[in-house]
Amino acid sequence: MPIVVWQLVFFVFPLLFLLLMSFWLVKNYRMVPGFDSVNWIKMYGKGYFWDGYWRTLGYAGITTVITSVLAFPCAFALAFKVSPTVRRWAMFFLIVPFFTSYLVRIFSWQIFLNDNGIINVLLSSIGLGPFSMLNTFFGTVVGYLTLCLPLAVVLQLISLSNVDQRLIEAAHNLGCGSFRTVFAVIIPLAKIGIIVAAVFCFILSFGDFVSPYYLGGSKPPTLSILIIDTTKSGQQWPRAAVVAITMIVTLFAIMFTAIALAYRRRS
């Protein structure tokens, strides 16, 4: 069981240490072990912390909804409308992006979204724009989508592929229209996969700092940007730890709620 040891030492232990550190003090730019709730009180008393908290939750929530909605027609088409060969290749090409540098892709989006970028040059040639897209919420969402969309399509596609085709045919034979079949038969059957995909989108966009920083302009900050700023500038690690622990607790609460929802039997 070497993995237990490894994960305990290098995964659980660091996180516990983070929790412990959130009670430490910083004196003369050095951390001093202690047990003081001052970091928690200070951090939770700050308006910008709560602004950041709700903003991050909101961003992640909106991204989850947008990604799930945009991914579904694609996963649906790949599951039911194309040949198995096309489906396999599509699956392969959807996995490829995970192994390309996210940073490089974000840099590419900067080239597109810039005020003098590709999109604005194209738009101005037909007499439109310029629109500022970089350093806006729109930019952030483009970045989040870059991160989440392929994964969401893959996960939805896997669960849609497992839907029993006979049930769909049965619905059609019973006179159920195409749209109604999708919403009354297919989505409930693929519920678990759709929710799991959504949970992953939420986790990824909740914790990501690259999109809100390099496409969203970093101001106002999300929680992950707050952690970086607090850690990298100065020695306020205990306060960064407060933010981190809050994020983990929030994430786990949402994850467990969603998973419980996914596996709940219909009464």
């Binding site: 070497p2 993995i3 290098f10 996180l15 490829v96 992006p97 540098s101 900067q110 850690t231 994020m247």
Partner: protein, 268 residues
């Protein structure tokens, strides 16, 4: 009939749109890595290798590639080994606390990388292990071994459970069975787990950024260039990294498909 055709066409169009969105940034980076203009936009300038020369005459970039290579190979090795052990334990044994064991081995990818970075940095700095190559390796193994575990576990699900008992009955020791039955059966999964974890580690920037100190990896260099002004060197470095990762992935895919089909045909 016509309506059905239109629907069909619309679906294809939508799928194409999604793929364009996914691959546009990757292809753009390629194109602009050869573009002469300092500020990347259209119309394109002329073809140049300037950004490649600029990037790869920089000693820092070479050092970063060296560090990345050491890190990703060591990570792949350790993570694949750990992943295999976990997967085998899950496949073979039932024991008290198994679900906690599985949760522990699969949970790391759900923790935001920034937080993992901060936690690792805090702990490693405390025990005097931060800023070294080994600190990046240790952190990446935590992140990568769940993927290795998942890949090997899927392969183990295909094994005939009687195979192992048969080997035992024929007098093979537990170790020998492991060496001559289980490991060869899992070989394709082990190889692809190796390639995938190497690729994941090679691309990971957040945790590496926190713990690496002066031993920067390639993605950390990219992150630092990104923080400065617009600089097309990113495209050049990124393209090289992309080709490397994709080669690894395709290799993994080919090996997995070829080996696993052949093995099943010959009775395994």
């Amino acid at each position: 009939m016509i309506r059905a055709k239109i629907y069909h066409g619309l679906f294809y169009f939508y799928v194409a749109l999604v793929f364009v969105f996914v691959f546009l940034p990757i292809l753009t980076s390629f194109v602009f890595s050869f573009n002469s203009e300092r500020f990347p936009t259209i119309p394109l300038g002329h073809f140049t290798l300037h950004w490649y020369t600029l990037a790869f005459t920089d000693a820092d970039v070479w050092d970063a590639f060296k560090v990345s290579l050491i890190v990703s190979l060591s990570v792949a090795f350790i993570a694949t080994f750990l992943g295999f052990c976990t997967a085998y334990t899950d496949y073979r044994y039932n024991f008290f606390g198994k679900s906690a064991y599985l949760a522990l081995s699969l949970l790391p990818p759900t923790i935001p990388l920034v937080i993992m970075g901060l936690a690792m940095l805090a702990l490693l700095a405390r025990i005097g292990m931060s800023g070294k190559i080994i600190s990046i390796i240790v952190s990446h193994v935590v992140l990568c071994s769940p993927f290795a575990m998942a890949i090997v576990r899927m392969r183990l699900a295909q094994i005939d459970p009687n195979l192992e008992s048969a080997a035992w009955n024929l007098g093979a020791s537990q170790w020998r069975t492991m060496r001559e039955v289980i490991v060869p059966f899992c070989a394709p999964a082990l190889i692809s787990a190796f390639c995938l974890t190497a690729a994941v580690s090679f691309d990971e920037f957040a945790v590496a950024w926190f713990v690496s100190g002066l031993n920067k990896t390639v993605p950390v260099i990219i992150l630092e260039i990104l923080q400065g002004n617009t600089d097309p060197r990113i495209n050049a470095i990124g393209s090289v990294v992309f080709v490397t990762s994709i080669t690894l992935i395709i290799l993994a895919q080919i090996i997995y498909m070829r080996k696993s089909t052949r093995k099943t045909l010959t009775g395994f």
